[in-house]
Symmetry: C2
Subunit: 472 residues, 2 copies
Amino acid sequence: MATPPKNKLFFGSFVHSKTLAELEYLHSTAIAVDATGKIVAVEPGHATAAAAAEALLPKLGWAAGDVDTVATKSDSHFFFPGFIDTHLHASQYPNVGIFGNSTLLDWLNTYTFPLEASLADPAKARKVYTRVIRKTLAHGTTTAAYYATVDVSSTNLLADLCLAAGQRALVGRVCMDQLSPAYYRDESPAAALASTLASIAHIESIDPSASLVRPVLTPRFAPSCSAPLLKGLGALAADRPDLPIQTHISENKNEIALVKELFPPSSTGAPDDSYSSVYDAFGLLTERTILAHGVHLSEVEAELIAKRGAKVSHCPCSNSAITSGAARVRWLIEKGVTCGLGTDMSGGYSPSVLEAARHAALVSRHVAMGGDDKAKLTVEEVLYLATRGGADVVGLGGRVGAFEVGMEWDAQLVGLGTVDAEGGAVEEEDGNVDVFGWETWEERIAKWVYNGDDRNTRKVWVKGRLVHERKG
Amino acid sequence: MATPPKNKLFFGSFVHSKTLAELEYLHSTAIAVDATGKIVAVEPGHATAAAAAEALLPKLGWAAGDVDTVATKSDSHFFFPGFIDTHLHASQYPNVGIFGNSTLLDWLNTYTFPLEASLADPAKARKVYTRVIRKTLAHGTTTAAYYATVDVSSTNLLADLCLAAGQRALVGRVCMDQLSPAYYRDESPAAALASTLASIAHIESIDPSASLVRPVLTPRFAPSCSAPLLKGLGALAADRPDLPIQTHISENKNEIALVKELFPPSSTGAPDDSYSSVYDAFGLLTERTILAHGVHLSEVEAELIAKRGAKVSHCPCSNSAITSGAARVRWLIEKGVTCGLGTDMSGGYSPSVLEAARHAALVSRHVAMGGDDKAKLTVEEVLYLATRGGADVVGLGGRVGAFEVGMEWDAQLVGLGTVDAEGGAVEEEDGNVDVFGWETWEERIAKWVYNGDDRNTRKVWVKGRLVHERKG
């Protein structure tokens, strides 16, 4: 699947987020990407790819023979930034769709811990991680913030496989020294920190410049970490201000009650007993912190999170599936909290960030049904969360998530289906988005958001490298 | 696509609803279907298709050469009853996914009426209706309760096309003589009734025994019908006790207020000003009536609906998308109301009943978040609604929706994807359901409900006839 590094010229229609509210449509446009994967020119206004090449290549000093050209076929094809999945558990992938009527804490014990523990078997880990990387790439996920397991070697394997497949990834060894069954936890805070350092060292050894893969400090969530472990991770985070941090927050009401019980302010020195204050007291609420869920945050907590610059990964599929609640994304954004989307497999049932975007729009309507009509998220807004917002959440803002000079080419070629005059013969490969021909571009994008799937993601590039292509 | 009528023997795993709560798994089973499409034998306990044929054919008096055998390939394939879509607007299909942030009444004026009116153009109607039939068949919908448009000829065309494609369908000419723009409505109650009779006559002429296609009385919804029109339709319903009736009820709060304003009890003679009482006063609340939505029904209304034996088509995708509300399905069922699922395209964004089932489970969790934990619908329950429940809703209970002797063979062959030892090579055609091999059958079904799509629906039969087959 890998292609050797070469200059590339992309031509056709490009769609990306300009702001939260607005998509920009660049038609008859050429984007030049150099051999390192960087966007070096964005030029609208060319009638054909050949005309664009003729105008652009001399300016770039590129010989025509040294350039691969990728032009879109028709006006139902366009380039879109790759999706950023800001929260998912690679190790839980085999369980997608399996959760019964459980909620968070029983779901962890019944479905999740046994599966995660079983990935200490390297053959099983390889099978599962290979699959989840291929699957998410096929759905256009160019960057993923992964939780692996407690096991160091299987975590390291996940990083190896991401690098080999060319997927940009944050890879976190899961820290937990309490709450989970004895067969699946860190033996002590010291052991947890040592294992974390070992995994960090491995990941930094395979990609020293963090060109694609980087380690991420990963306290599973407060209830599964002892105070000494959280303290140690906070100290490590202070030592290593380049490392991102990921954890969960305020997903489920019983979980919140458990945090209050486990971490009273008297034990943490926090000013109150909120979940956010616990992380803050341990130095883990930082501008590098990715907080998954944030469903039941209070006003004060949202303000603290915004003040610290921590980010929220909204995981609507998971929140609905395991009955956690309906996160108020508009409210978080208005509080100044940076938000992105997570599939949260396998609390979430789908590997697709597009499904997360669609369901974010739907869940926002359920929030609106409570009386706050402006809670509704538009198609444009959920796509922003899936790309630019997500890039900001995982610390890659300005580097990926849009098509601007200086950013890296993490992108997907999207193709929608077209309906012929008889309404009949079509390519099955086209999937479920039917363009009849009279739709505006805005309507085509809405159709993609509501009925698109991996069949519409024809090709995927990360850092200029082709990492997925549909056979069809 | 049509195959000549022939006796058929299906062999392998069959899964269908026994009750609301329970799926039945029939493995190593043979089902014999005669040339008229009727199930004549269901026999578990045969090791192979050949063994089943040897045991079964002599009992049936069938010569081996006269029988087509269809055996499932592996334990990730199974037969499942075809889906019943109890509510959709064929004429709105081109608008799926296009609704912006609108709600019902502005959505009708902005998106819906202009499109429906445009289908008076027969070429456009043919294109759209051909497409919607192919698309829904591809998603396993063997029976659809369609709304067409106000236009008689385009409604008749929809019935012609369903019959030709072999899809079981209720086809309704939309009655409306008020509320909609002047360019798109019946000219008078008398004109509406005459057009309705004309469409009924056509549909009965092409399928006199209603073997597949039947007409359905279709007052769009109370606000778009004058009292004389509703009265006329009630009289027609009384004259023709064989005809089903379909309409909308209690979808949106502004709509409910409009009904109260338009139909005060003083004008209808109803005992109260509820939406249900309006239909009841006009003789339209019967055991043949399919009521779409029922989101905001009161206790008294649910009891009246149960008493009259009218049915509810739950349309979760639509209810979320256009912010109508979250219908309380468990509550309706406990009130004694028979429920099924509708895609409600294009208020709903998807042609897939499986998506409606998935979203019914998710929406039920949002109802549960309000505090009523037992509101949650299980995988088994949403599949019941999609098949057996739907059959009861459209008046085909006991005839389709399950695999029992005497019922007709409306079925789909479902194939799930399997992951090889390396986690890699798979058929793209397999879609997004990944079976790793260790899953129970119940877990496989859950995976299908949460990640399945039309790629998993390999073949579809209606009344024994193969009406869809994936190329892949």
